[in-house]
Symmetry: C2
Subunit: 315 residues, 2 copies
Amino acid sequence: MSQTALIGVDWGTTSMRLWRFSKTGDIIERERSDRGILKVADGKFREILEAVASDSVAPDVPILMSGMIGSRQGWIEAPYVFCPADIATLADHLQPVPGGINAQIVPGVALRDVGGRRDVMRGEETQILGARLGRGRQLIVLPGTHCKWVLIEDGRIRDFVTFMTGEMYQALRRHTILARLMPDTDTGPDVEAVRRSFAAGLTASLDGEARLMQSLFGIRARGLFDELAPELAPAALSGLLIGAEISEGLALSRRWGLAEIAPLIIGGDILIERYQTAFQQAGISTTTGNEDAGALGLWRIAQQRNLVSQASAPQ
Amino acid sequence: MSQTALIGVDWGTTSMRLWRFSKTGDIIERERSDRGILKVADGKFREILEAVASDSVAPDVPILMSGMIGSRQGWIEAPYVFCPADIATLADHLQPVPGGINAQIVPGVALRDVGGRRDVMRGEETQILGARLGRGRQLIVLPGTHCKWVLIEDGRIRDFVTFMTGEMYQALRRHTILARLMPDTDTGPDVEAVRRSFAAGLTASLDGEARLMQSLFGIRARGLFDELAPELAPAALSGLLIGAEISEGLALSRRWGLAEIAPLIIGGDILIERYQTAFQQAGISTTTGNEDAGALGLWRIAQQRNLVSQASAPQ
């Protein structure tokens, strides 16, 4: 382990990912844990971290963390920095963790726009810095429980909006009458039928006219008349919600004055595929980010702060 | 109790209302119970009914019921009749309850429109018949867990759409991150501040442009920065959702070709007030229905079916 130059941790509400980096910035070890911050009792963050790192953490190896670990419910609060924010802003505001551990937390990013609208992110700012940011205006979409649409301008986080799509899906799917006709698992055995059901959901809400509220109950009604199989209902709901999100998001992107709407999508495989399908159905071409965007973002922030060597430049 | 000409029951998922009618159609007794059909164990509907009627049910007094009591989860399924449906359609399809009890259930109404859209109602059809239905086209809105927007044409239920607004409110308020900053009760002690918070929610979603998905998380973000007091957050969420519903519903009403959009609102007091406020903010004038619309509808269906005297005509 003497080869380790940095330990990077993306520590969210429900899970945690950990990477060890070599001196040249290569990832030499990856760990994943379901011990999100909400599952850590009595503030025992250090114990969990050391257990996941499967080694006691060496005092000379810096640790850099991002995500909800820096929230009020986390290890220690890393106060938000405000938009516009770039890598220097974030690196300048790392929050040291108390207790004699060589660890710091990347701050989240907050927004207050001219109309007084508020928004916040924690963790996504680091994934964004792991992406290839060019000059000019650029759109990044990060699907998830709280999906973010982010306007980047010359490498800075300029504006963003959170869509609670993933959480709405779970709340409607588990805690409304729609739950009654849905099986416990999200996808059925017939992958093609699931895809078609998702696409049909998209069609109903992607047309630019607001129809989400009136379309949800149709899932129930079609189920009652055996016109929608229970195992296809979750995909129909997912399509409706993602379609409504993209419909709103595209209107937002036009207000942002993007010359071309061609989002970079960063996230897990299943969600990336669904969002790619949805954008494609809306006639929008996309690119997808490196799965290790979060790791790469942590490495770059560590470089910026001189926690690791400047020379290396991993891709 | 020999004066009783009819017992009417509106038996829903979470509660039940019961009325005794005199021979002239006057309501001589009202009962309310929280024993909705989901809280009735082992199919003991008759026992619950007799307990709520606070008397053993006399065999010569007809009982007419509406609502989810006629669903698959109820006493016995009363198959849906299809749109267009009027009082004759409903009265012709009453479903007798088995077991030697003089009781029948009003069927629900189902829709399948030209585009294949499906929808269903149970209970609202009876409330609608309790309203004053004129000639021509008319809009009725019935707020609730599943709010219905109904197009009436010459006294017939012609078309309708269900908005899951009430259930979305509960699911988002109780089962997402928004729950964390909300108190258990829905309204704070400062009634005027709650009204303003509701109105602000309406403003954000009533403008005709779809913004619901991106506005929900703002409740959380403003809470984080102490810009929205916890006791005002539920009203803000309610405003956002009802505003989005009305925005969609007004577009729908225009597609329905209503000469004038001036809905009749039927429902409980608190919801009626909120919907009146919302319509007013959208520049739409409303009228409100009799609180006993459900009772009156049951009486009229009983008359139509000759279960009670034709002569009486209660208002």
